[in-house]
Symmetry: C2
Subunit: 295 residues, 2 copies
């Protein structure tokens, strides 16, 4: 199955789990609309796809519980975008080619829509079609990945980094948390839900963590080289804000090389696992997903 047919087949289940939980708890129409607006604004659905493709990679059949956890991941990612775009944060008016949440619904509702998506995401994990032990594991790791040691800590580091020039190590530490932690969780949860042994889990985490860094480098490169119409947001923002990025620290050429390096490490780890599973010929969805960064 290709990434495209995989997405077409399974993402609708993920989106329907999200809609179900939001509708079930929708007491205020405007809040529901504001949350739905940002969820439906598109995006690559990278985190749910990584989770589902990992489970599929290990030969397990995808089930309702998996779609619910994938949905929770996308909801948490979406809440973080709504809050990051706020005037007090990155002050972005455009996201995926559409006006950002606070431009459409106002700041108050955008803050509350973010709070709501985070809360409902964790509610979805709690009521998901999995065992109590699995739910507690997922809750523990998902709140760690998206909390102050993970995504939120990374966003604080990112904002504070604007006041100073970061070293490459500091920049990497920020992004490991800000974008890396949820990508790490997506693959880790896929391994956990299919009971992978530690050695395989370790290779998969090498794949995930190099994916995370490659993803951020690509994002920085797009901000310099990308076409606004194509990527759906304003470019040149990092330079305007004097932000430390992979391109500001390594130059465009250096950043492209670093991207290749992390791509190779990820593919290499994946090949090790493929070899162990005896599926060396096949191009997997996990490979296709990271290849999208090289286009």
């Amino acid at each position: 199955m290709t990434k495209e047919s995989f997405s077409k087949e399974y993402l609708p289940y993920v989106m329907s789990e999200i809609t179900n939980v939001l509708e079930k708890n929708a007491s205020e129409r405007t809040l529901f609309e504001s949350m739905s607006y940002s969820l439906e604004a598109g995006g690559k659905r990278l985190r749910p796809l990584l989770l589902l493709a990992t489970i599929d990679f290990f030969g397990s059949t995808l089930s309702k519980g998996h779609f619910q956890i994938a949905g929770a991941l996308e909801m948490i990612h979406t809440y973080s975008l709504i809050h990051d775009d706020l005037p007090a944060m990155d002050n972005d008016e455009l996201r995926r080619g559409k006006p950002t949440n606070h431009i459409v619904y106002g700041e108050a509702l955008a803050i509350l829509a973010g709070d709501g998506l985070l809360t409902e995401a964790l509610h979805l994990v709690a009521i998901s079609d999995l065992s109590s032990t699995q739910k507690v594991w997922l809750m523990t790791e998902l709140t760690k990945a998206s909390g102050s040691k993970g995504m939120i800590g990374g966003q604080v580091g990112d904002i504070e980094g604007e006041k100073t020039i970061l070293t490459l190590e500091e920049l990497q530490a920020v992004h490991e948390k800000k974008t890396g932690a949820l990508i790490h969780f997506a693959v880790e949860a896929g391994c956990y839900l299919t009971n992978q042994p530690e050695a395989i889990m370790a290779e998969m985490m090498t794949y995930a963590d190099n994916f995370g860094v490659a993803f951020q480098i690509k994002d920085d490169l797009l901000d310099v080289l990308g076409d606004e119409a194509e990527i759906g947001k304003h470019t040149g923002m990092d330079e305007a804000l004097n932000k430390s990025t992979y391109t500001s620290l390594l130059g465009v050429r250096g950043a492209q090389e670093a991207l290749s390096e992390h791509y190779n490490k990820a593919i290499c780890a994946l090949n090790t696992v493929k070899h162990q599973l005896g599926k060396t010929e096949e191009i997997t969805i996990l490979e296709e997903l990271i290849q999208t960064l090289m286009g």
Copy 2:
């Protein structure tokens, strides 16, 4: 034991569980400070006390798991205050006699401190010293109480209510969610953790829900009659904003009568349970807690 000695004995355990989880995950110093600032700004710790006093009321020994859930409740309450105080929401500069979070740390960090407290609160439930079944129940109910059908929905209703004059029923529906849902959860969780039968649970919920309404009426009365220095925030805000409140709809006298009525209903439900438990003579902490609203 009196409410005062009960608080002195047990609240330090609650606060220490909160500090533990925040410190364990503190990767950014400023984020940790901003979260701690609002937690340490005082407050009555009503929600943790309600949970612990309910467990104590049924004769159970308080344990680490109980203090962790009480801590999670206080963290969620605190995050909601930080976000409610933001310029885009109620725009409050003073809370409990101290500058609000965004005045001290700026808006960006205040938004992230709120997000962080919510996430770490649910992390604390996930890692708490309770069974997986209990944790999943608590996660499900706590995210429901604080989500879009509960606290967040109530805050949206409150903001939207500013544009119009609410009926008493509409006002009550807003506050049932905004402040009532977490109070309801506190007592409900205390009953759940001590395995109360349905009939007792129902009486306790009557206590909790009337407590919630009485609490909001008292809050509205304080905004009209209270002394700024004493209550630590600006008064007269509701009238200035033309907000529908119990006093604007019922007058001061009518609001005082409604407060008495809900107080009586709560006490009556509590007496029914006391009678069944054979502790009719004793003044309990749950009684003392609601009596503070009548002072």
